[in-house]
């Protein structure tokens, strides 16, 4: 028997093994040592992340239902790095939960299952696999959002997420069935060949598109975001707004650029309209948030609008710029969430006012936050600037000057509220500023990795070249 084909699925297999190992570990590790499961999980996942970078294979399995290309492989690694940083940042919080509140390993099991779902979703070669992956990636997160069972707001977040998600995936499935009806196949390759611009197909595409729009939280499918983000624990919010969004953008883009390419004249207008709505509404809401989590949530809605500027390009340049931007976005947002997490863990404070005078007491944390926010706001020479600039170039190269202009207006608006936080930290004096504290090793590592990521992405250009090369062959 030839085992080499398993190599194609090695991300999935290893992650599954890790998940099972952790389940077993829970049985054998006594209650008072439960905290060590966190070390174990981080250790195992770290190895998994490193292994992911060793070589990559191309091919398809199960008659084309599952496929792996260098681009997909690369993106799985990106997701891994993101999740690893997230784990490092939540380690202290989890340890506390496990030791004091006798929580089990479910956090890891659920998180890894969701990640596994994302792997399958982005590796999908047909709509069935895609749908399974989509569901597997969403359902565990709903449970995670309700992780703080003692807090009402957390349970509410969980129930809201799962109901909204059910609606979205129902609509999406309806769309898929229409596509099946018109083309007679659920395989991406087959549909790509058969697709024509008739009304039923377009309706199918739109319904399908809205399902993913929900995950990316594009306007008007974003309403769940603020409530869920605020209610869920910070790690989960961070996961939802960074990792989950990234994966959904990836698969949406692959499908639009390959399967729905013949319908581009339809979806480019749709993307245009949604991009504008998303940027403006996201920004206008974000500008008046006082709670840091809600603030980051709405600002991430606006960021999703910018991503659409790369998608509207419709060619591999657009693909490369979006992937690069997502990469930058992951690091920048994780850095911001990491700081919020660290402060919330030590002091329980989550409001913007509480950050006043932070530079005086905790200069390093505020510098990390500043870097992250500058990157999100797109100020050179931080990575976020290049990310946005490339997206704008991608849109401009198709002649969408008005859209680019309005996007730049939005960058300016977003600058206003990002500066509010920076002003609070640097240019405000506060007698009751958050006192100086030091972070534990994991948190520090988690923050350092994000900073390195932001700086490296901004200055080390071969990374972009690599992505650009990869994006030349999508299918």
């Amino acid at each position: 028997m030839d085992f080499s084909s398993f190599l194609l699925m090695r991300h999935e297999i290893i992650l599954l093994v890790i998940t099972l190992l952790l389940l077993v570990a829970e049985i054998f590790i006594p209650q008072q040592k439960k905290g060590s499961i966190v070390h174990l999980a981080i250790f195992l996942f770290g190895i998994h992340t490193v292994l992911g970078f060793l070589g990559n294979v191309e091919g398809a399995l199960f008659g084309g239902m599952f496929r792996n290309t260098p681009m997909i492989h690369f993106f799985k690694n990106v997701l891994n790095v993101g999740v690893l940083i997230l784990l490092l940042q939540s380690a202290d919080w989890l340890q506390e939960k496990m030791v004091k509140q006798h929580k089990g390993t479910e956090f890891f099991i659920l998180l890894f299952s969701s990640l596994l779902g994302m792997y399958f979703m982005i590796s999908a070669g047909d709509f069935l696999m895609f749908y399974l992956g989509l569901e597997l990636s969403t359902l565990p997160v709903a449970a995670l959002a309700a992780y703080e069972t003692s807090k009402r707001i957390s349970s509410e977040a969980g129930i809201k997420l799962i109901l909204s998600a059910a609606l979205a995936s129902g609509v999406s499935l309806f769309g898929i069935s229409m596509l099946y009806a018109t083309s007679g196949s659920i395989y991406f390759n087959d549909i790509a060949e058969m697709i024509t611009a008739n009304n039923l197909t377009i309706l199918g595409m739109i319904l399908f598109f809205t399902g993913l729009s929900f995950k990316i939280s594009l306007v008007p499918f974003h309403f769940w975001t603020a409530d869920v983000y605020e209610g869920a624990p910070i790690s989960v919010t961070s996961f939802l707004s960074v990792i989950s969004k990234g994966a959904a953008v990836f698969i949406l883009m692959i499908l639009l650029f390959t399967v729905f390419k013949p319908l581009m004249h339809v979806w480019e207008n749709m993307v245009y309209v949604i991009a504008l709505m998303t940027m403006f509404i996201g920004n206008l809401f974000a500008s008046r948030q006082k709670n840091m989590k809600r603030f980051l949530a709405y600002s991430s809605v606006a960021q999703a609008g910018f991503i659409l500027l790369g998608i509207i390009n419709g060619e591999h340049l657009g693909f490369a710029t979006v992937i690069y931007f997502v990469l930058v976005y992951i690091f920048s947002n994780l850095a911001a969430f990491g700081v919020v997490q660290a402060i919330s863990l030590k002091t329980g404070k989550e409001n913007m006012d509480d950050y006043e005078g932070l530079y005086r007491t905790n200069p390093k944390l505020s510098l990390v936050m500043m870097l992250a926010l500058f990157s999100l706001a797109g100020i050179p020479p931080v990575a976020g600037f290049f990310g946005k600039f490339f997206l704008f170039t991608a849109a401009a190269s198709k002649g969408y000057y008005l859209l680019v202009f309005l996007a730049v207006v939005n960058v300016t608006i977003s600058l206003y509220y990002y500066l509010l936080v920076i002003r609070a930290m640097f240019l405000r004096k506060n007698e009751n500023a958050i006192p100086f504290f030091t972070n534990k090793l994991y948190m520090r590592l988690g923050l350092v990795l994000t900073v390195l990521g932001i700086i490296t992405l901004g200055l080390y250009s071969p990374l972009y070249d690599y992505i650009f090369e990869l994006s030349k062959n999508l299918m």
Binding site: S164, F405, F468
Partner: protein, 641 residues
């Protein structure tokens, strides 16, 4: 020419910034001052050496100053378009190197005295170094993309420095205003860069500006797509100029500059008088061949008019202001308008390029005397603890050095021979006279106004009656007096440099002659301005008030800066905030927060989960979702396929 050592010039301030910025708590204030000054001194020496090497030893080959470029490809954006990083050395970049390092060095030395005892002493030097690094990087950039990066970095460090006194709310809001306004202008810059990159396939100044010596046209050929009757390249240039106008405080983006005076005075001298605000002029000069040749200089004409009008407008406002730093701020705006105007009326070959040369010349001399004016004003403010003219008077007895140096600077800006401003202003007026008579008359009128408002504050500060001072004003310490003396020396001799031989649009150099009739007119107008100021302000009298009244409405308008701030406030507050943001805020507050709070008030734990569903909120969300789907489907299937 081996130019790699030039990298050191910006890198040294960067190293100083990192050193001081990271260890701000560990390094003693006194030591940090020395580190800052020493670092800048090294950069200064290197710049002088570079200038010597370039202008006198190796720069000129076959009667033409060459461009030396050292760069590496930083990123291949697409298969054809790539972005480079490196340094570009030619006559204007070297001139800017000298200006930036000289003024920055003086400001560093001066700050050691001025900021003494301030608890953010080290922070101030760290920010100053950061600014200097960014500005030098901007000057040396080889392409549009690189210049844009440093352009924004300069904006960030300016933001930090304006907001330096962060305990003052006005300083913080001024910092924000400056950042947002210039950032808004940069919006045009960015889109301009995108257009250039897309339609010409390159960001490089060298390629963009290359001129064919035979046909006298740009070498680069691009598809001449046009938009509203104008080629896209011309649109690109106009948009790029929009960025330049923002940074250089040209109308209508000037509103941030007067407020930026909230920063420490040495900072104003460095950033808002001599270096950053002329970045816009530098940008236009950098792309001058493009501005000149594309669409027969359509974009260049805009530059000329924006410059001329800003210059007149600012000079009128300057007459009425009572805060001396604000007078200087408007004066800066007016003088930069002069430089823009000079570029705008310039030709390209030989003596026709006199405007270009004059603009650069004026940039150079203006940097010297305007920095001196600011540092002098700082010295005065340091002594009387007020920015307002009404709190000053008769200071010449107490502060002899400041008095003399301030007088020299005022004479220089008023264009009295043989001081520096006379020579460069004369060239500007020559250029305007030859190309655009209307702008010439505006220029002459502005020259008179300049002399008047400058001597109005000079007499107001140093002559007239003593005011009641809390403690007797005294001359500033040597660390502050030395930069004054140095810059005063420069303000006297800088005009004697035969600038046209070194800096010219076609890089070949030409011999400029003083145009005696024009020079005589300008000087006479200047002297009339000074004389009027003498009559009105030398001794305190009611004459000035009487005349102010007779101008009535005009005076009031000028005093309120022609209500520009109010106009902006009206647009942003009344229209954007009330009409757009407020309804959305209402929705968020009433519907989103309201339901949230509604849920919060009901404390029955059991019903919580059900309430999550029954609150109506989720249904709202679902409803919005479905409506979104239906509308999208309807629109894209039936209307817009």
């Amino acid at each position: 020419m081996d130019i790699t050592y030039i990298y050191l010039i910006p890198i040294i301030p960067l190293a100083v910034f990192l050193l001081l910025g990271i260890n701000s708590k560990k390094i003693k204030p006194a030591v940090s001052g020395y580190i800052g000054v020493l670092g800048l001194f090294t950069s200064f020496l290197l710049s002088i050496y570079t200038a010597y090497q370039y202008f006198f030893v190796i720069g000129k080959i076959d009667g033409e100053y060459q461009q030396f470029i050292d760069k590496t490809t930083w990123l291949n954006f697409t298969d054809t378009l790539h972005i480079d990083m490196g340094i570009l050395v030619d006559s204007i970049s070297i001139m800017m190197l000298v200006v930036v390092t000289t003024i920055s060095l003086m400001v560093h030395i001066y700050s050691r005295g001025y900021m003494k005892g301030d608890d953010g002493y080290t922070r101030c030097f760290a920010y100053l170094s950061l600014f200097t690094f960014s500005m030098l990087g901007l000057v040396l950039a080889t392409n549009l993309f690189q210049i844009y990066i440093f352009w924004e970095l300069v904006g960030v460090s300016s933001y930090l420095l304006i907001g330096y006194y962060y305990t003052k709310p006005s300083a913080v809001s001024a910092a924000k205003k400056a950042f947002i306004v210039t950032r808004f202008a940069d919006l045009g810059f960015l889109i301009g860069i995108l257009i250039m990159g897309y339609y010409t396939g390159t960001f490089d100044f060298e390629t963009l500006n290359a001129v064919n010596p035979e046909t006298g046209m740009l070498v680069l050929n691009w598809a001449s797509t046009s938009f509203m009757g104008l080629s896209v390249i011309a649109w690109g240039l106009i948009l790029i100029f929009m960025g330049g106008a923002g940074k250089s405080a040209m109308m209508p983006f000037h509103i941030w500059l007067p407020d930026a005076m909230e920063g420490p005075t040495p900072v104003s001298a460095l950033i808002h008088a001599a270096t950053m605000v002329v970045a816009g002029v530098y940008l236009v000069a950098r792309l001058f061949p493009m501005f000149y040749f594309v669409e027969d200089g359509f974009a260049l004409n805009i530059v000329a008019w924006v410059g001329g009008i800003s210059s007149l407008f600012a000079a009128i406002i300057a007459i009425t202001q009572t805060d001396i730093k604000r007078v200087l701020a408007f004066s800066t705006m007016s003088q930069i308008g002069y430089m823009m105007m000079a570029l705008g009326v310039s030709g390209y070959d030989g003596h026709e390029g006199v405007g270009y040369m004059a603009s650069m010349f004026h940039l150079f001399t203006h940097a010297m005397f305007k920095a001196l004016l600011f540092l002098g004003a700082g010295s005065v403010i340091h002594a009387v603890h007020s920015n307002y003219l009404k709190d000053m008077g008769g200071l010449r007895k107490y502060m002899p050095i400041t008095n003399i140096t301030f007088l020299i600077a005022a004479l220089a800006i008023a264009g009295v021979p043989p001081f520096a401003g006379f020579w460069s202003k004369d060239e500007i007026l020559v250029a305007a006279f030859e190309n655009n008579q209307i702008l010439y008359y505006i220029g002459v009128f502005v020259a008179g106004l300049t002399a008047f408002y400058m001597f109005r504050i000079y007499f107001g500060i140093f002559w007239g009656k003593d005011k009641k001072y809390e403690h007797t004003p005294h001359e500033s310490p040597m660390s502050m007096a030395f930069p004054l003396l140095f810059l005063a020396g420069m303000s006297i001799v800088a005009g004697l440099i035969p600038f046209s031989e070194y800096v010219s649009a076609d890089n070949k150099g030409f011999e400029a002659h003083l145009n005696y009739p024009l020079a005589a007119i300008a000087t006479t107008v200047g002297i009339i301005g000074i004389a009027l100021a003498w009559v009105f302000y030398k001794k305190e009298n009611s004459l000035s008030d009487k005349y102010a009244k007779s101008f009535g409405v005009l005076y009031k308008w000028a005093y309120h800066k022609f209500y520009f701030d109010e106009l902006y406030l009206f647009v942003t507050k009344k229209i954007i905030f009330n009409r757009i943001s407020a309804p959305i805020a209402w929705f968020d507050k009433k519907v989103v927060d309201g339901t949230m709070e509604g849920i919060g008030n009901k404390t029955v734990v059991v019903s919580d989960k059900i309430k999550g569903m029954q609150s109506g909120k989720l249904q709202d969300y679902a409803f919005a979702f479905i409506v979104g789907v239906v509308v999208l489907a309807g629109v894209f299937i039936y209307l817009w396929k």
